[in-house]
Amino acid sequence: MRIFLNDDAHDVEPGTLAAALESLGFGGRKIATAVNGRFVAAAARPKTALSDGDRVEVVAPMQGG
């Protein structure tokens, strides 16, 4: 199935958010996530099933004012 991660299309195996993040190189990283505009806590990623066309946001710490 196809998901959009930070607007970029990726083809991933059907499954959970945690599995998709692992397959796309985010395993063990300091990130926060949202699916279709809703925050998904790290603890909930293994229980969050993704659907075709889902929009996933992945953010990391950055400098700010």
Partner: protein, 256 residues
């Protein structure tokens, strides 16, 4: 005192736009800041910038204040706050809901709404607001225990655009911590804010984009200390006519 946390330094420093991480680190040390602001941005699977910045922040051992910079809607700001709380492991959030792209003026209506939602969810909200008195009251009703009115538009270096408004806010809220956030350019601006009785100053660009950010950080720290001391020393009121500082009584009469 912000949400029960006592700090010695009255300078909160932003971490963006510095020439290098090394200069950022030295500037933070020179400023004496105990709180640094941070943000969050998209990162790809191969990106490492966020991870290295996170390691850097941890190595400082300082308190972090994540922001919702760039958010234009209540929903975006609330979701960003949730992501920040998890990433940085803090209830503190510098809440920005931007209403106008040219001035980066807060959308105060969205701000109050987002502040209420986040306060109810247990966040400790630091709202980036205007100096509007009624908005300030609404923010406090929404649960904010700190207010951060702008001095001038973010990054503009204009200083305190509305001294009257800032003074009025201080007079109206004598107890709640007030922080001037944004728009300062030089240390005298920060000193002026502190002389008005503000509790602290939040800076970024004025330090980061100075020719020598480390020296400028130190200069701001000195100015903030001076301004605070001046406030506590109760400045005299300005007046229109001259008053001789040297006593006139006993002056020799020498004709003329």
């Amino acid at each position: 005192m912000f949400y029960g946390v006592e700090l010695r330094s009255r300078l909160l420093l932003g971490t963006a736009r510095y020439p290098s991480p090394a200069i950022l680190e030295r500037a933070i040390k020179a400023s004496g800041a105990e709180v640094v602001t941070v943000s969050l941005r998209r990162e790809g699977g191969s990106g490492r910038a966020g991870q290295s910045f996170w390691s850097f922040i941890q190595s400082l051992g300082l308190r972090v204040l994540p922001n919702t910079a760039g958010c234009h809607s209540v929903k975006e700001a609330v979701t960003t706050a949730h992501m920040a709380r998890e990433l940085f492991d803090t209830k503190w959030i510098k809440l920005e809901v931007i209403g106008d792209d040219d001035t980066l003026q807060p959308d105060v209506f969205g701000l109050v709404e987002a502040a209420r939602i986040l306060s109810e969810e247990g966040f400790e909200v630091f709202p980036y607001t205007t100096e509007d008195l009624v908005v300030a009251e609404r923010l406090i009703e929404a649960g904010c225990k700190v207010l951060m009115p702008w001095g001038a538009p973010i990054g503009s270096a204009r200083g305190l655009n509305n001294v009257y408004g800032l003074r009025t806010l201080r007079a109206h809220f004598p107890v709640i911590p007030l922080v001037v956030d944004a728009g300062l350019g030089v240390p005298s601006h920060a000193a002026a804010a502190m002389e008005l009785g503000y509790d602290a100053v939040l800076l970024n660009t004025a330090v980061a984009e100075a020719g020598d950010p480390v020296e400028m950080a130190r200069a701001f720290a000195l100015a903030i200390e001076a301004g605070r001391a001046a406030h506590l020393a109760q400045p005299m009121e300005p007046r229109d006519m001259a008053v001789p500082s040297t006593p006139v009584i006993g002056k020799a009469v020498l004709g003329g």
